[in-house]
Symmetry: C2
C-alpha cells in the first residue's frame, strides 16, 4: 500500500474537528461550584484527532443524513473515549503522567477528582445523546444508539478489554493470539466500530450498508490498536505526546510482542485493505472513509 | 414522631428486595473471560436494603403501573449506586476497606479492576434500561428516564456532590449551610429523588403527582444523608458494616458538625414530616411510601 497524499483528508478532518470541538465545548459548560467541570473540560478539550466522531460524521454524510442528527452521539462517544483515557492514566491503572503532550488529569486535579471526572463523563455522554439529539430523530433510533454504545463501552466491550489487558499484564503468561485479539477487539476496536455504527443507525442504514460499515470499522479498529502498539516501540515520547516504550516494560499483550514490528505492520495493512474492500460499493462517496482507513496505518501522530 | 411498628414495611421491603436481587443477578450474568463481572457482581449483589429501587417500585404500584415496566430502570439506579460505592471506597477517594460488613471491591479484586468495574456498571446501567424495559413502554418515556438518571448521576448531580465533598474535605474551610446543602442534595438526595421520579415518569404521572413525589423524595433524600452522618457518630462499626467515626477525622462537611447530633435529628424529622405531607393526597395508597419515609430516620441499619 502506498502512502497517499493526505492533503484533502487533512482538510476534511480539520473541518470536522472544528465542529466537534465547538460542540464538545457547548455540551459541557464550565460550572464554577467545584473544579469538576474544569477537570472534565481539561481532558475533553485537550485535543486529539477526534477519529471516532469524525467517523460517525463521515458515515452520516455518505448516507445523506444531516450531521446535526449525529453530532450529540458522536460527541458522546468522544466523551466515553476521554473518560477511558482519564481512568487508564490513574495510578491504580497505567499510572501515566503524560497524555497528548500534557500532564494527565490526575496530575493536574488530583486522583479523586480524576476518578469522579471519568464517572461524570460516562453519565454525561448518555445525557448528551438524549438531551441534544434533534427532536426529529426517531426515539427508537436514539434508544438503539444508546444500547449499542453502552454495550461497546461496557463489560463485554471496552471495559472487558481493559480488564483483560490489566489481568494479562499482572500474570506471567505468554501472550497468545486469542488473548491479544480479545484485548484489541474490546479495548479499542469496539468503540471505533460503534462510532461507525452510530452514524449508520441514525441514518436508518439498510442491512447491507450497516453490515459493510461494521466490518470496515472492526478492521480499522484492530489496525489502529496494532499501529498504536507498533508506535509505542518505534516512536519517541515527543512524537507521541505520551510515554513510549512502556508496553514491553509492563508485560502488555501487544502485536509486536507476538509477531514483531514488521509482521504487525503487515497484519495492520491487510486489515486496512479488507476494510476498504468492504465499503467499495459506496463508490466515490466513500473516499473519506477510505482515506481515513489508510491514515490509520500511515499516521505519524494521532493525538 | 413516634417510631412505628415496621413489621408490615419489613415484609414489603423484603418482598421487593427479593425481586430486585433476582433481576440484578439476571441482568448481570457472570462472564468467565476475566474477573470483571465477578467483581461487579461482588459489589452489586452484596446486599443492602435496596432503598432506591424499592422506592421506584412503590411509586409504580401507587400509580397502577406493572412493576415489570420499572424493574430495569430501578435496577439501573441500584447499579449506579453500587458504582458510586465502589469508586468512593477507592484509595484515591475515601480509602475504605469495609462496606456492608465485607471487604471493599478493591481490597478483593485490586484497584485497577475496581475502577473498571465502576465504569462498566455505569455503562451497564443505561444498557439495562434500554435492553430490558418491556417493548410496550413508550420510547419517549424511556428516553426521559435516561435523561433524568444521567442528569442526577452526572456533574450537576451525584458526581458534583462527590466533588464538593472531596474538595471541602481537603480545604481548611469552615462548613457552611450552603456547602452542606450542596453536598447532601447532590451526593445523596439526587439519586434518591430520581428513583422516585423514574417510577412516576414510567407511570405517565400527571404534573401534580410528579411534583408531589419529587418533593417527597428530595426531603427523604436529605434526611437520609443527615441520619447517615449522625450514625457515623452514634453507631459502631459492627452496627453499620463500615468504618464509623471517620467523618470528623476527615474534615467532612456533615450536619452534626454544623448543628450537633440532636438538632441534626430534628432537622431530619422535619424533612420526613414535610415528605409525608407532600404525598398525603394519595391517601391509603401511599402507606408504604409514608412508612419508608419514617424508616429513614428510625432505621438502625441500612446496609
Amino acid at each position: 500500500m502506498k502512502k497517499d497524499d493526505f492533503t484533502e483528508l487533512d482538510r476534511y478532518i480539520s473541518e470536522k474537528q472544528k465542529i466537534i470541538n465547538q460542540k464538545l465545548d457547548e455540551y459541557t459548560p464550565l460550572n464554577s461550584y467545584t473544579k469538576l467541570t474544569e477537570s472534565i473540560r481539561y481532558s475533553l478539550l485537550l485535543g486529539g484527532k477526534r477519529l471516532r466522531p469524525v467517523l460517525t460524521i463521515a458515515v452520516a454524510e455518505i448516507l445523506n443524513t444531516p450531521i446535526e442528527n449525529v453530532l450529540p452521539s458522536a460527541c458522546a462517544i468522544e466523551m466515553i473515549h476521554a473518560q477511558s483515557l482519564i481512568h487508564d492514566d490513574l495510578p491504580g491503572m497505567d499510572d501515566d503522567e503524560l497524555r497528548r503532550g500534557k500532564p494527565t488529569n490526575h496530575i493536574v486535579y488530583g486522583e479523586a477528582l480524576a476518578i469522579i471526572a471519568g464517572d461524570a463523563l460516562f453519565s454525561h455522554a448518555f445525557n448528551t445523546i438524549v438531551s441534544k439529539t434533534p427532536k426529529n430523530v426517531k426515539p427508537e433510533l436514539i434508544l438503539k444508539v444508546i444500547e449499542e454504545i453502552s454495550t461497546s463501552a461496557g463489560f463485554l466491550g471496552m471495559c472487558g478489554g481493559q480488564a483483560m489487558d490489566i489481568s494479562f499484564e499482572k500474570s506471567n503468561d505468554e501472550v497468545t493470539k486469542e488473548i491479544l485479539e480479545y484485548i484489541h477487539t474490546h479495548k479499542t476496536a469496539d468503540i471505533i466500530t460503534v462510532s461507525v455504527k452510530t452514524g449508520a443507525i441514525l441514518s436508518n442504514a439498510n442491512e447491507k450498508e450497516l453490515d459493510a460499515l461494521t466490518k470496515y470499522a472492526e478492521n480499522i479498529g484492530l489496525a489502529f490498536q496494532i499501529m498504536d502498539d507498533v508506535m509505542d516501540i518505534t516512536k519517541t515520547e515527543e512524537e507521541m505526546g505520551k510515554k513510549t516504550n512502556k508496553d514491553l516494560d509492563k508485560n502488555k499483550a501487544t502485536y509486536p510482542r507476538l509477531y514483531g514490528v514488521e509482521k504487525s505492520c503487515r497484519i495492520a495493512e491487510e486489515k486496512i485493505n479488507t476494510a476498504i474492500k468492504e465499503i467499495s460499493f459506496f463508490g466515490e462517496k466513500a473516499k473519506y472513509l477510505e482515506a481515513l482507513a489508510k491514515y490509520v496505518i500511515f499516521r505519524d501522530k494521532w493525538y
